[in-house]
Amino acid sequence: MSNLTDTAGRVSGSYRARIIGKKTLIYIVCIFLCALSLFPFLVMFVNATRPSADIAQRLSLVPGNMLATNWQTLEERQNFDFVRGMLNSLLVSSSATFLCLYVSLMTSYGLVVYRFKLRQAAFTFIMVVLMIPSQVSIIGFFNEMYKMGLINTFWPLILPAAASPSVVFFMRQFMLGSLPLEIVEAARIDGSGEFRTFNRIAIPMMAPAIATQAIFIFVGSWNNLFTPTMVINSQAKFTMPMLVSLLKSDRFRTDFGTVYLALSLTVLPLFIVYFMLSKFIISGVALGGVKE
């Protein structure tokens, strides 16, 4: 009898030891990965405060006291207009996000609430083009924008956002689950017009989906480099990612501190937004993956 307990006790003991060992390993790996995510940014922020000569000598995670000097050097570089780039990006990204959300909501509402002859065909079309990346048609796009006189304006960066098949797809899936048609019906009986029902009833009910998608559309537009480099050519209209590419120019060859400071400026707004909304964003990523 005592023999059995003994065996059982030893087995569970070694099992527990194995679990603890495994958990320790997992924590070590996770801490390493977290550090890996942070390290490059840490180097960047720290180097933004160090003198260029010092940066060239060694890697250090101790902040220096040259932030003001680096800032001044950056100010003197006429072609790195950070505030301008920021405003340009804000204008482009917020307009694109608003347009994309509103039109996608309209489209999904049309597909979910009304039954019309081409409904299935329209949805199938959206599914088919879902995966066509805009990059493949960039030459035709460029040619068209050139003919329309829209080169070096923000329109080519904003207007196409209104047709995002993936956002429509997501909104439709969400709407199927969260907008009971009885409510639309009830509004109709109460004499609400179709557009009014859409604006006042459907849109508020879609708030969670809108919020999640808004972040991803905004960030996607903000981070886009390919389309702006094709259609924007005057520096006054450069968006943030385009400004970053200026940092490679010879002017900044030895001003390491200034380069890191400029980079920090481009990254900092996203950092702040991300850490404020992180929980929300993570659940949005999970939702998107499962829904699709």
Binding site: V113, I132, P241
Partner: protein, 349 residues
């Protein structure tokens, strides 16, 4: 009246009233299709059209064409100079290599983390914080991240070289003497394979968190009673993972694979930012989209040939999309079949 008939009655009432408003459906979907036609469909058609035209602007701003030339643009692209790989093939190879070196570790790490985070024998504390940290690079501008790595791998004096010096891989004494540091420091950005690895690493580093979160959500979405049943039957956690989790995750895994592949084929920001002026590494790290851009921005602006490369990229992407479309359609169809079966069962009761 049984529940099923009630549901049918309600449905037919709804569809009748929807039919009355049928034109509203067209109104609601019209803006999307209008914008899509103008900004995506027409450009796509135009790209296909230009691919079969001789259309260029010479260095002296002389416009030639567009004149139809059949498959000449494609033929010119594939004509290799003196037995070398044609550039168009090389850029596809480069893109593919950089994608695959990023994707394999990305999937492995994501799967491993997902397995750990969903293991029923123990709970990992701070999962939320870990997810926030590893997902973070994904949200930051790829151009900024690439420029950051560009600075980190600078020659002769960048942090990567400093670390190698302090580790003793390169001679510290010589390295710290700025006059002759260049004789020992590594020229990372001028080595094709080094740049490929850096680009792949950045891609991996930006995306494995995203993949992991999607996989964790997928695993949590599996009916927990399946895991419990397996556990009661004495399956080990490895067995559960290989025999239950992975097969059930197959649609999500395939989805991740195909979307990553399609996204990877368009790779632009990171490799474009990693190019050092005049570096030999370019031949090994130029991607398809970079080549498309180069053809219309550098030297003679050859729209026809650039469009031809775009068409090739479209075809490759289309093949992957079709695969994905079938995967997703099958999923939808099987769900519908299941619902039909349930409805039939209910009707019998």
């Amino acid at each position: 009246m049984s529940q099923a008939t009630q549901v049918t009655a309600r449905r037919s009432r709804l569809s009748r009233s929807r039919l009355e408003k049928t034109y509203w459906g067209y109104l609601f979907i019209a803006p999307f299709f209008l914008v899509y036609a103008i900004f995506q469909l027409y450009p796509l058609g135009n790209t296909f059209y230009l691919a079969f035209q001789k259309y260029m602007i010479t260095g002296t701003n002389k416009v030639i064409g567009p004149n139809p030339v059949g498959f000449n643009n494609f033929a010119a692209l594939f004509k290799a100079s003196s037995g070398a790989t044609p550039k168009v093939v090389q850029v596809f190879i480069n893109t593919g290599i950089m994608w695959i070196i990023n994707f394999i570790p990305q999937m492995l790490i994501a799967l491993l983390l997902a397995k750990w985070f969903t293991d029923t024998r123990f709970t990992i504390r701070g999962q939320g914080a870990i997810k926030v940290m590893v997902y973070m690079p994904n949200i930051i501008t790829a151009a900024s991240i690439s420029m950051l790595f560009y600075a980190l791998f600078a020659f002769p004096q960048g942090p990567a070289n400093s670390i190698l010096a302090s580790l003793g891989v390169i001679d510290k004494e010589i390295y710290l003497n700025s006059g002759i540091a260049a004789t020992v420091a590594f020229r990372f950005l001028e080595d094709g394979w080094a740049v490929r690895l850096i680009v792949a690493f950045i891609n991996f580093w930006m995306w494995y968190g995203n993949t992991m979160i999607v996989l964790v959500a997928g695993i949590l979405g599996v009916n927990p009673s399946l895991f419990e049943a397996a556990q009661v039957d004495g399956a080990s956690s490895n067995q559960i993972f290989h025999r239950i989790t992975i097969p059930l995750l197959r649609p999500i895994l395939l989805y991740t694979l195909v979307t990553s592949l399609i996204g990877g084929m368009q790779m632009y920001d990171i490799p474009a930012m990693m190019q050092q002026q005049g570096s030999k590494a370019k031949d090994m790290t130029q991607t398809v989209t970079m080549y498309i851009q180069e053809l219309v921005f550098e030297g003679t602006k050859d729209y026809g040939r650039s469009a031809a490369v775009s068409v090739l990229l479209f075809l490759v992407t289309a093949v992957f999309s079709v695969i994905l479309f079938y995967i997703m359609r099958d999923k939808e169809a099987s769900r519908q079949r299941k619902m039909m079966r349930a409805a039939r069962k209910e009707a019998k009761l």
